[in-house]
Amino acid sequence: MGMTITAKILAKAAGREHVCPGELIIARVSKVICHDVSLAAFRELERMRATRVFDPERIAVTYDHFIPSPSVEAAEQSRALREYLTAYKIRRVYEVGRGGICHVVFPEQGFVLPGEVVVGSDSHTCTYGALGAVALGVGSADAAAAMALGEIWLRVPETVRVELIGQPRAPVGGKDVILSLLGRIGTSGALYKAIEFTGEGVGALEMADRFTICNMAAEAGCKNAIIAPDEITAAFLNEIGAGEGEVFASDEEASYADSHTIDCGTLAPLVACPPSPANVVPAQKLRGVRIDQAVIGSCTNGRLADLRVAARILKGRKVSAGVRLLVIPGSQATYLAALREGLLEAMAEAGALICPPTCGPCFGGHMGLLAEGEAAISTTNRNFIGRMGSPRAEIYLASPATVAASAVAGEIRDPREVLDG
């Protein structure tokens, strides 16, 4: 029987020739990723009486959620985490000002390679599937166990196959592709399953789009999202000076739980309306929906390619008088590159507030929360009630192009109208 790419990677990690969906395995873990909120995992590592981790070089930690510290309590937590990192001799630590948001920084730094099994104490760890790795979001005890033992118990998931055909026409991009899938299959459309993106349409997508797609696949309830590595993946790894990893691909005769096709060439800019990432409509239909805040950033869309798209729309235009536009580069490296390219200048000139790399408003933590009755359009991945501040605020999710165009218009706007107009 044929195996999917996810099954092949898990079989190897379990030291097996073959595994079937539904089987429970103990898989060796290649990498573990953590952030400042993973302090909980280190407290549990201590309660496990672990005196050391399985391999300090295979664990990476960044400070991204509560940074720069918005409260004394947050500062105390970051300090407690620093003490654990010293005690457990973890050196791959990205400090404030030298790192950024986990799912932007770790791939950028070449920490994750094709064919690996990655465990992360964050629900969007599935982002690394864009590199052809099996990457799983887990809770703190699982992350602690993975750090202590270097292994994890899991069920081999069935796979939902999503075939992409055609090429998205700019300013349509990766965000619109994943929103289209969410609109179709819903928030539990891939529960416990892997989502594999495949087809000739994948070849037309650059890495930034692939990361966006795998990131937000989490909103369909999936265990992992994955794209088989190709020349674009290899070129990305080569450019950042990372290794090649081990390239796997699904067998022709692999079987799938479900299968969907998305024609990227016919997609229009899309928006997810509150309060669900699967509540998706064309941006055009929302013309006239007034917004108070626009946010461009996060692990979904805080990469250089995203900032380029936004800057192209904002350059020479002004953010509407009633709107606050926050631009949050996903990492320090992204920030620097955008600075050198003049993107930050163009956006600041348009009236955007350029913020430091942080998760900040994405999870309702700090740095730009919403008041009661306000509406925001954001490139982030969740629009649940209360996610960005007041439970009585509304959140719309869209691509960097749609968010930038809406910031200029003062209301939700299809970016094609702003670019043409």
């Binding site: 407290r43 672990a50 887990v138 166990a145 928030t187 649940f384 209360g386």
Partner: protein, 169 residues
């Protein structure tokens, strides 16, 4: 592992923000017990005073969707819930529940037919469930051995601690 308690019933797609709002997340691991008071703080404010130790939470599809916060499962346990039965669980929530020693059993038929306050019995090892109030019996798939072992040890922390100690000897 057998549990007997009254059903506390909830609907579909209850997310982790509803179970435990993000504002209670700060360093919860130091005092997991305190989380019980905040369980369903916004969604169902009377919950923590209404629940009796040993009660069984009964919920619809995709219970626990949203963030990876283990504190959500810990809050239910701290509130006194002994066992969870749902039509389905969100993936990370399911693992988190098992990992803190809170059995999470999928049984759509029981959920469909149970009403608030029914007396339920769950035999986790065998995957057998009984609604004592109605007399109906149900079966759910039995857990794999490693999951049962984690539950028996009271959660993943004690399970790993035991393994590390055994390795040292």
């Amino acid at each position: 592992m057998r549990f007997r308690g009254r059903a506390r019933k909830f609907g579909d797609h209850i997310d982790t923000d509803a179970i435990l709002p993000g504002r209670y997340l700060t360093d919860w691991n130091r005092d997991p017990k305190s989380l019980g008071r905040h369980c369903f703080a916004d969604f169902d404010p009377g919950f923590s005073s209404r629940v009796n130790p040993g009660d069984i939470l009964v919920a619809g599809w995709n219970f626990g969707c949203g963030s990876s916060r283990q504190a959500a499962a810990a809050a239910l346990k701290a509130a006194g819930i002994s066992c969870l039965v749902a039509k389905s669980f969100a993936r990370i929530f399911f693992r988190n529940a098992i990992n803190i020693g809170l059995p999470a059993v999928e049984c759509p038929d029981l959920v469909e037919e149970a009403t608030e306050g029914d007396l339920l019995e769950v035999a986790v090892d065998e995957g057998l469930l009984v609604n004592v109030s109605t007399g109906h019996r149900y079966s759910a798939g039995a857990f794999p051995p490693v999951v049962l072992e984690i539950l028996r040890q009271g959660g993943l922390v004690s399970y790993v601690r035991a393994r590390l100690q055994a390795a040292e000897r």
